[in-house]
Symmetry: C2
Subunit: 154 residues, 2 copies
Amino acid sequence: MSDWKQPDKGVTESHGQYISAIYRHMQILISAELAPYRIGSGQYIFLMAIAIQQPITQKALSEKLLIDKTTTAKAITKLEAEGYVRREADPTDNRYQLLYLTESGREVVPKVQEALSRVKNKTRKGITDEEYDLLVDLLRTVLRNLSEQEEMKR
Amino acid sequence: MSDWKQPDKGVTESHGQYISAIYRHMQILISAELAPYRIGSGQYIFLMAIAIQQPITQKALSEKLLIDKTTTAKAITKLEAEGYVRREADPTDNRYQLLYLTESGREVVPKVQEALSRVKNKTRKGITDEEYDLLVDLLRTVLRNLSEQEEMKR
């Protein structure tokens, strides 16, 4: 009964189908792991990005993560409501707001990282360290190719 | 200016971050490729799944693709409005509706496949056939691990 989760072989098998399926599966597992912190699968990526890049504007965050403005705004509102993120006027230009982690935000980040690591480790079963490094390298190449494609279209 | 699209190295680099970023990039490229057919990046996966598995109910489609009911219903409504998909009462149980491709649907499928292949080929640049096969194998392992995780939780 579990083979239906695999993309259909032979027809159009490609990394793209696997990536879509893996993405959706991971979002489901991550949701479950982060439920105790009331952080959804659509929000953790913003929390982690703010942790690394704060202070950052909502616009820059949306562009860096390639996630549209509306989705970004909703995620930030949710993270703010949960007390993990706060907004502050940009001292250099008060038309803009900068996003920061709150103290609760700083406290929850390592827990989110541990949860993400748990999901990561579960998905690595049967893959050696060498294979894993190669997988990450190949994915990095795919991502670079995609970034270049988009730049060519601009 | 393009390195901001890469996940931050060192901090929490993992295949999961690459997969999320690749997934979002691919959705953007696929959207652009499929715009002439008025098929969105959220819809082609349903069109292709119906092509392979028709006749299929909306519920089964949602379960197979791991996409929630509401998103599935919206995508099917859109594909139906564009004339690519039709619903028909299940002859064995008329409480259920089965989804089929229309003639336009059957005609557009090879064009969608070509568009997906174009995206796939663009992302393979600099990856040899051997490396690509290994990438697909490793992704298949990751997906199988994820499927097993979910079954354990049931």
